[in-house]
């Protein structure tokens, strides 16, 4: 058994207090559990990870549900998730169709998530306690892209905050890799995110631009 501990950051700043007030509803809990790859993984989500207390936004399960809620309901017409439309609408479908095994683990304390293509996504402490709610939704999109068999294919550019010269970047925007999917989701959330504030949408914009500036071997030449 691996044991770990985390200090919960301010839940107003992360958005957890607000989304947490909504997800504490058995209808949502059942839907998220059965839709986004939690089902069958009770052993990964208990022992302090929230299975016994899914409304407690100090714990990982509720904080993941918050991201699932944002992912599911941020489009004005969220019921339309056709792939021919906006990514803000279909990102939830993409995550549910490309992720059937979502697990919670300690990680090394700072790690956020990892995808084992075609098999499972693992979420770690950094996912719940260093990312705000939109950032967590971005991570679910990013890792789901890996699940579908799209690995990173380049090294980070000079000056990248993710580690210049190290592996883990995408070659460019047109590769349509995990970084592009995450950034594009944040971009749509900034542009059309519904039932939220302009401040939270602006935060998504800034995070999306950080990805665009640092995660592609060749900068796409545009920003949000």
């Amino acid at each position: 058994m691996v044991s770990c501990s985390s200090t919960v950051p301010d839940k107003d700043a992360s958005g957890d207090n607000f989304y947490g007030g909504v997800i504490c509803n058995q209808t949502y809990v059942d839907y998220f559990w059965n839709t986004y790859g939690f089902a069958g993984n009770q052993t990964y989500w208990d022992d302090g990870f929230g299975y016994e207390d899914p409304c407690n936004t100090d714990e990982p399960l509720a904080r993941t549900f918050n991201a699932c809620f944002l992912l599911t309901y941020s489009a004005q017409d969220y019921e339309n998730d056709g792939y021919e439309g906006k990514m803000l609408n279909w990102a939830r479908r993409y995550v549910r169709e490309n992720n059937n095994d979502l697990r919670a683990l300690c990680g090394d304390g700072t790690a956020i998530a990892a995808a084992f293509a075609g098999d499972r996504i693992e979420l770690y402490q950094g996912f719940w306690y260093s990312k705000d709610v939109p950032g967590r939704a971005e991570t679910l999109v990013h890792e789901s892209r890996h699940m579908g068999g799209k690995p990173h294919n380049a090294t980070f550019p000079t000056g990248s905050v993710f580690g210049a010269g190290g592996g883990g970047a995408d070659s460019d925007w047109s590769y349509e890799g995990a970084w592009m999917y995450g950034a594009l989701y944040l971009w749509w959330f900034f542009a059309e995110g519904a039932r939220t504030t302009s401040a939270l949408r602006e935060r998504a914009r800034q995070r999306g631009n950080l990805v665009i500036d640092n995660a592609f071997a060749t900068h796409p030449g545009f920003n949000i």
């Binding site: 052993t43 059937n100 950094g126 039932r195």
Partner: protein, 237 residues
């Protein structure tokens, strides 16, 4: 659809048996004290800025209107709160700078100047590619400050214009990029001309990096790529 895995049968061998303990949530600093303005700032940052719901934006904007009426006091309170936060309280620090961005008041310029002058601390993460890049979080705070300056510059604030122009020489690429795009989008021909004269060498390419609408960006394809049929392996004796 993903193959159903409805059973929550415990795994053989105790897989996934990690245990997590959480410490109580860190409370926001009350550095602003108990004044009326401090209460207004705390309520806006704590209760309205990141809210959810149909009326969330209206409530946030109404609060900003009340804060603008006492902008100098509000800015001073925000500066005090910012200084009281720990380095690793990235979201809280970003929220305060976002408040100044949305406040859109000239009194904010000195605080924004102070934030942008501070050196970015070294990377605290051992593996920023797979964990949180603390330098990345610091950059987000600064690009948010640049956005605040860009909005003020677009309103004609001369101090904001000068400070925004100075950011085109910042050490960090994203800050320079945000400043260049802020000036390019400000509609201020004189400021744009000054920037064009100052941009040197490699940074001249930043003029070609434009902010575009997401509807004009190349889109992702979507689709289901996960191969169906995945199921846990059968238990072994």
């Amino acid at each position: 659809m993903s193959p159903p895995r409805s059973s929550d049968t415990p795994s053989i061998g105790g897989a996934g048996d990690d245990r997590l303990e959480t410490s109580p949530p860190r409370r926001p600093a009350n550095a602003g004290g108990d004044s009326e303005v401090a209460g207004m700032v705390a309520d806006t940052v704590g209760n309205l800025m990141n809210a959810f719901g149909v009326g969330a934006e209206q409530a946030y904007q109404a609060s900003l209107d009340r804060l603008r009426a006492r902008a100098p006091e509000v800015v001073a309170d925000v500066g005090t709160r910012y200084d009281a936060l720990e380095e690793d309280q990235y979201s809280e620090r970003e929220s305060l700078i976002q408040l100044l961005t949305d406040l859109r008041h000239t009194a904010s310029v000195p605080v924004l100047d102070d934030v942008l002058r501070r050196p970015i601390p070294p990377e605290r993460s051992a593996d920023p590619a797979h964990g949180l890049s603390t330098v990345g979080e610091e950059i987000i705070i600064r690009t948010t400050a640049v956005e605040a300056l860009a909005r003020l510059a677009a309103d004609g604030d001369s101090g904001a214009k000068d400070l925004l122009l100075a950011q085109t020489r910042h050490d960090t690429f994203s800050v320079r990029r945000a400043a260049v795009q802020g000036i390019a989008d400000s509609g201020d021909a004189d400021l744009l001309d000054r920037m064009r004269r100052e941009l040197q060498g490699e940074d001249a390419r930043l003029l070609e990096y434009r902010r575009i609408d997401v509807r004009s960006a190349p889109q992702a394809q979507g689709g289901r790529f996960l191969q169906p049929g995945y199921a846990p392996p059968p238990p072994t004796n």
